[in-house]
């Protein structure tokens, strides 16, 4: 038995918002792979849970009329990885969430929880940063949209208010069309491991596939929150993809934009080495994918049926 005082099964997002506003101590539970583990450890014991597990409208991936990808938050990691829209337009996001825990955890854990629990080590976090994903929050005062780059306020803390439920993540066409990417995770084991460091690098090349038109670099565990490296991103623009100097540029540039710490998992020095090396490797792979003509076009709204 879990140590829960009250449990409510929300029937809809509106229902969940109402329940949260009525119960000050309430916490949202979706997949449960995080909340129930913490409960077992005594964190949040004796509290209230509002379950959004059984709300169908929170599942799936869709295309909005303008080509914006809409990822519903209760979609589990496995469903994301194998979703045709994810595989076609943002495959590196599917690869990133395929590194979470093990298969059973990926069958239950959700991208909404991965982002909303505020963890810097979340495997989707670095990639979502580079996608400029927009978090759609619904609360008692209505709906608001927060870019994921402004979502985190500290370790385990976000701007989400107590009564707000994440309804979707939106990825706009300018953030995925023409881009390839690569997520690399460092952990001591290949499975059941929390990232020691996670790095996502994405590029958009010019039409002749010779120079970088746009670059995006996102990290998990390189700072108290997931971060981007805007200065290094800007420095890569206009560089030739055959110029080996770009790897030195990214590998040293990012070091000025990160703020890792020592933990029992790894020292700060080791993390800095990973930050530099994973950026180089991810950039190389992202470029290889672009040269291999893997960059997607614009998604069409009628594509959304699985």
């Amino acid at each position: 038995m879990f140590d829960i005082e009250h449990y409510y099964e929300a029937k809809s997002v509106e229902d969940a918002v109402r329940l949260l506003s009525e119960h000050e101590d309430a916490e949202i539970i979706s997949g449960g792979t995080d909340v129930l583990v913490k409960l077992r450890d005594g964190k949040g014991a004796g509290g209230t849970l509002v379950s959004i597990h059984e709300i169908p409208s929170l599942h799936g991936v869709y295309v909005q009329p303008d080509g914006t990808l809409e990822i519903r938050p209760a979609t589990c990691f496995t469903d994301l990885t194998y979703h045709p829209l994810i595989q076609k337009y943002v495959p590196y996001l599917g690869e990133a969430v395929d590194t979470v825990g093990g298969p059973q955890v990926r069958n239950q854990g959700t991208i909404g929880g991965n982002i909303c629990n505020g963890a810097t080590s979340a495997d989707s976090a670095a990639t979502m940063q580079t996608l400029n994903a927009v978090v759609v929050l619904q609360g008692v005062d209505g709906v608001r949209r927060v870019p994921v780059t402004e979502f985190y306020t500290g370790p385990g803390r976000t701007v989400r208010r107590h009564d707000e439920v994440c309804r979707a993540f939106e990825i706009h066409p300018e953030d995925y069309v023409g881009f390839t990417g690569c997520y690399m995770k460092y952990g001591k084991r290949a499975a059941m491991e929390i990232a020691t460091l996670g790095c996502c690098v994405r590029v958009r090349l010019d039409q002749s596939l010779s120079t970088i038109e746009e670059a995006r670099i996102g990290y998990g565990v390189a700072a108290p929150t997931p971060i981007r490296c805007p200065n290094t991103e800007a420095a890569l623009v206009g560089k030739s993809v055959t110029d080996e100097g770009i790897y030195e540029l990214i590998g040293t540039g990012v070091l000025d934009e990160v703020n890792p710490r020592s933990s029992w998992r790894a020292s700060k020095e080791f993390r800095l080495q990973l930050i530099s090396e994973l950026a180089k490797r991810s950039l190389r792979e992202a470029i290889r994918r672009s040269l291999n003509h893997e960059a997607p076009g614009l998604a069409a709204p009628d594509e959304e049926r699985r």
Partner: protein, 156 residues
């Protein structure tokens, strides 16, 4: 406060009054006496409590019974054939000596059932990743992989 949960367990319709604090692991073991579902780590790392929910492998230690309403649950007990015969996966585990202490076995067999259910054939490397949510402290995994390869490997 008790809630009524209606589900199908190993093909049988079941209606139970459950406490919302109950995990599916507790319900299956303690109320339905399905003791093939093992309680290991309790935090979703060892996979000993794995069952299939609507065909998908899930750690029942991290699954509230409330969520099982109107769903189909399959445990190792449900693999038995009409005349008590073993499932081909169970037979493969025996043939390949993939069982030592046996504690991880039911969970691994259920993941193997999910793997076979996809209808695909897998390389050994792919199978390694697919069973990564299970811990076995006896076998060193080699015989387990041999057994699953026998039913779902590319050469099977």
């Amino acid at each position: 406060m008790l809630n009524i949960v209606h589900m199908w367990v190993n093909g049988k319709e079941v209606e139970l009054a459950v406490d919302p604090r109950e995990s599916l692991l507790e319900t299956l073991r303690e109320k339905l006496n399905l003791t093939s579902v093992k309680k290991g780590c309790g935090v979703g790392e060892c996979g000993a409590c794995t069952v299939l929910i609507d065909g998908v492998a899930v750690d029942t230690c991290l699954y509230l019974t409330m969520w099982a309403d109107s769903k189909h649950i399959l445990t190792t007990e449900g693999l038995k054939g009409p005349n008590g015969e073993l499932n081909p996966i169970q037979q493969a585990f025996i043939d390949e000596a993939a069982v030592q202490c046996g504690f991880c076995t039911p969970g691994l067999i259920m993941t193997a059932v999910e793997i076979v259910g996809t209808g695909r054939k897998y390389t050994r490397e792919e199978l390694r990743k697919l069973i990564a949510g299970h811990l076995c402290r006896c076998t060193g995994y080699e015989n387990i992989l041999n057994a699953i390869e026998k039913v779902a490997g590319i050469h099977s």
